[in-house]
């Protein structure tokens, strides 16, 4: 198994990735993309590309340690090639894709040569309940014909393929109605209506959330992933690891904000004799943020280890727990750091305001906190 040189990677992120953030904050998309391409080459050259097809998969525990380092920048995971939603699609295709799909789509995806997206959420159905879908796929003339409407399809803009969740057997029992189908980007009938304006911006390319229409979109039957009716099961498989990937990344985001906050309060003069860091109410925020990060990190790494030792099924319990716990921790730490920076925290001169906007979604996507809380409690209460 590979063991990455984490301190060296950390330094690389500081020196090469973080300096690109102003391009993101000022929406200079083409400059950003070129710069990221150069960075990715350097990362590969260093053999730090965790999804490289020739490497043995990394245990989740090590993935977690890597993730919290590169996650300090919103560009980090992309720079190292294991960004959502692609990493989830890789895991899905690895486990359930046919040899043909793997060869055609998975290999270039792992190499970072193409991008992908995952279309499940629909505007008229609650994202928290994947059994409620309106998009359909019927077989006609040996082809899937897809009709429907998806949104918040992250990174759809520019993706070479998407994995679409659609109802394939409306008369089956609830959890057996849907299937997953791989849809190439250039398929007629599929249309990216818009990049949804989110928190003030429509974004671009990888940094966007698409709204997509399917009108009689024809797809080869072999593009089915797994078996027909397995959609819900596969979604669970995909979302489980997806959630822990998010948690591991959030530790990195929280650490970054914490760092910026500590640096700022140590330097910000408030009287002739005092800096902000001398104030007890600031210190209380520092202690609270630090402790919250450490507690969340301990839970995440314990869970990762537990998954490495057993499997996702055995830990679904824990994944619900860390999903909402870490998402809450993240909001708190971001808010503490923004508050400590004051008006500077509101400005785009620092990354904190970006995290404040974008990561607000952490308590919403992949199951809102409320859903995970109830799900965790129900499982616990079963044993009483």
């Amino acid at each position: 198994m590979i063991e990455f040189d984490l301190p060296a990677i950390s330094q690389f992120v500081d020196e090469h990735v973080i300096p690109l953030e102003p391009l993101l904050l000022s929406q200079q998309w083409s400059e950003l993309n070129s710069a990221l391409s150069r960075i990715r080459k350097k990362v590969k050259y260093q053999n730090w590309w965790p999804t490289h097809p020739e490497l043995k998969p990394m245990p989740l525990y090590h993935m977690g340690l890597l993730s919290e380092i590169v996650g300090r920048s919103p560009l980090g995971h992309y720079a190292f090639g294991f960004q959502a939603p692609d990493i989830g699609n890789m895991e899905l295709l690895e486990q359930f894709g046919s040899a043909e799909l793997k060869n055609k789509w998975l290999r270039p995806l792992k190499l970072g040569d193409i991008r992908s997206c995952f279309a499940m959420t629909e505007p008229n159905n609650p994202g928290s309940n994947p059994t409620l879908l309106s998009t359909t796929a019927e077989i006609k003339n040996d082809q899937w014909v897809i009709n429907g409407h998806k949104w918040f399809t992250t990174s759809a803009d520019g993706a070479q393929f998407m994995i679409v969740m659609a109802i394939t057997d409306p008369s089956a029992p609830k959890h057996l109605r849907a299937s997953m189908i791989l849809v190439p980007a250039d398929t007629p009938g599929m249309k990216l209506i818009r990049n949804i304006p989110v928190m003030g911006h429509s974004g671009h390319g990888y940094f966007s959330h698409g709204e997509i229409e399917f009108k009689d979109c024809h797809i080869p039957v072999n593009n089915l992933i797994g078996k027909a009716g397995q959609g819900f099961k596969l979604a669970q498989h995909r979302l489980g690891p997806g959630r822990i990937h998010h948690c591991m990344r959030w530790i990195g985001v929280a650490n970054r904000c914490f760092d910026l906050m500590c640096k700022h309060v140590k330097n910000r003069q408030i009287t002739d004799q005092q800096v902000l860091a001398d104030q007890a109410l600031i210190q209380a925020k520092v202690a609270d943020a630090y402790t919250s990060i450490q507690a969340a990190r301990a839970l995440v790494l314990n869970t990762a280890k537990h998954i490495d030792d057993t499997n996702f099924e055995a830990t679904r319990f824990n994944i619900s727990m860390i999903k909402f716990h870490c998402a809450d921790m993240l909001q708190k730490v971001i808010n503490h750091s923004l508050q400590c920076l004051g008006s500077a925290g509101m400005s785009d001169d620092h990354i904190i305001a970006y995290f404040y906007r974008e990561e607000r979604a952490a308590t919403i996507y992949d199951g809102p906190n409320e859903v995970h809380q109830l799900s965790l409690a129900k499982q616990i209460l079963k044993s009483y």
Copy 2:
């Protein structure tokens, strides 16, 4: 004293002001400005312009009731002509401006013919301590000569004048060092360096926060507001009412978000039989948001009444209290509503994400929450 027809105004806001919000969310500034000009004419035609020079000033209590209605839209106060920072400058000039300044600047400001701004905060000094300033104004040849650097000067872009806080006597006791000077927008030596990108946007015109440089900027001595050395005292006078104006507006913002949240959860189907509103965790958020709004509103209106009956000095105590209490309430209600809307809450299809971004500053500007908490406590503890 005037008594506005609040239900009619509420309907007007719903029918004429709120429909303009998409122009704000999509940064269509010139369309927005034209539309707002048309609306302002209608408001004046209805005699709903609270700062009209011919009207007796409204008691704060009634201002509060008006504010919570128009405050439901980020365009509301501007549409009715009593938007910050202009309203604060009006109050300042009314009380401390010379007849000449009143005639030249206050009258058109009250009529909404011009805009203004207030330049106090500096990038290298804490905004919470107005005795710490680097900007200076010296008298040379019978003119003030201003040098310095300001930022987060809200609405500087396009303002016809600004009120600048500058050190005029560095050797005086701390609270007597600064003065306030009215600086016309076209004065050489004053330069709007940039509209600061805040929460992803630089904004435009009224909807912006400027960074400003003064290099040997010459101003007539008569442009002094009040007396030399009164700057700190005037800032207190200006900020006191300013804070209660914000609180009254926040009640409106919170009510708007609460409304959107209740409507959404009543309509959002989550299973065949249930809508979101049927879920206890959603109901708990509804109860919490409602109660928090009512409590904050009761405190604000009580304080307004108290000020009407006495004066600002007698209630500085209460103003600190409502400033941080309402700012915290606002963050909570916005977050509850965003969470209840889920991914739609993150999108710019609704106004909630805008409030989430912009109103995060509520716990920061005009004194961060921490400062007001300590200030309130110290005053309480004096009597023990």
Copy 3:
């Protein structure tokens, strides 16, 4: 209408009621009872007995102002004769009791010559759902025959009568099954099994919570309050005002704790130069406690005024709101004050530890917070 001299009453509480608290804290029941009897005579002599039969009933708003003053001591309401559960029973008998019941029981109760209690909660049924009861009352030979088991019957020990809620028509629709019957204390078949040990003590007399058994307990048919089947409706009538009485009292409890906390931190030396009050984290607690009390007080007094102007039905909405809001406020303020006193706060040298124990029930009795939150939300959401 009477207007009590509140400052004089406040001084009386300080000088005569609060000094008796050590007798309560050390469970010297007989000394306490004698002392309270003497105090009650003085209160009556001053014409401060709000339930005196010759006085016109006090508006709730004024009751609230009185309650927050005498509520500063756990002995206050009893000393002034309007203590729960008697005050609730008075209101019930006043409105629904027959002339005979009023003459025999209400008059001496209002004069403080006797005590009473209210037996609704049962050990095997949830207190939050008064339609779920096991205690029954059947008419046999022109007498009610009661069988059942009650607990947390506050002040049963030594009460001259109790009002019992029992199922009188099990086949009726849910809300019409129960009735209320007045049971004299010496009735055979009724047995006080024990004073339930609560928070370490079984208490005594007025300061106790009884567990009671009814075995073929015969009661005259005329002891029915209101009509048969009205039990649930009467319970609502009784609990509505009961809840606002609690809220008004809690403001007093919170004020007392706040006072003790402020006094302590001003006097507690922590270094040669500093007292606790100089510490920002202490100041933050002071500001938080003060603001929370003011907000809760504003809501309670607004609600009382609203009830005075309309009626309880119109404000059930608001009563749910203040019930859980004030109960939460109270826990917070008690906890802040205990924390500020440190180990002294844990000791019975101060009243805070007593409030900490006894008032923990505030979020539980008369409907737990969770029930009121959901009830409030459901009513709000109806209008959307």
Copy 4:
């Protein structure tokens, strides 16, 4: 190193220790003491006595696992012989006691044949600042002569000796003024004034907190622990491990409350069809309590491991962190469980009300939360 059979111990606690709790709750001290003596014999017979002089000391990590099991009962640690304050005194004497003191006092203490206490806190000085003490010890005629006043000396009643912190050199630098002296219980001049009534009870024997007076109390010079002037250093040594012992025990308390809460809500019928556990607001409390316990547990066990691998000095940082984090977690879990049990939770029919009362002190003793927060923050901020 010993490895205890934790599942067997857990069963033993359930079957033998927990059934004794009613004796504690009803203050039947002599019955309780006899029963505990019998239990302790059984524990020793099983070789489960962790402080036995013949055993190699247990690593903290294993101590933590043991502690969370026996800590489920307030009688657990005493039953297994490693209760505070004795365990802290053992560690102190082990490291700093003379051979004579070890032989005379440490050995029987480890065997559970005697009890001890630790007298540091004083009524007129803040417990959080061990450099502020009024108790003095002077050498006269080759004996220490102690004068002073201590309180909250846990378990003083019946202890065979106490370790007293006293100023021995008032002219030395602040941290070198105090020393620790072992005072046998029968020494003239030392007087247990009272067991302080705490949360309604004065307690008894081991379960008490004493107030103690020293008037010319003569002690042999050899009873000094460590060296003169080392008092403050020794206090740090003693309190560091003491704090982690508390944290480990609190996990047990929290687990016990969590268990009782889950059992109750699964069994408590609220309608014909539903139990409390079916309610989402209850489920949210279950999820919150569970997650909070797991996060605190992960931090405590990580810290214990870290201490085993390094030493206390290296982890003082972490100990401050877990002290306040676990104390807060404990208050939350106890409150959730009490709330879920409703009025039963207030009664002494369950252990929850006991924990609610006694463990409120967790955020106060051994340094209040506020002190640990600031201390943690200051250490973190040093590195920025």
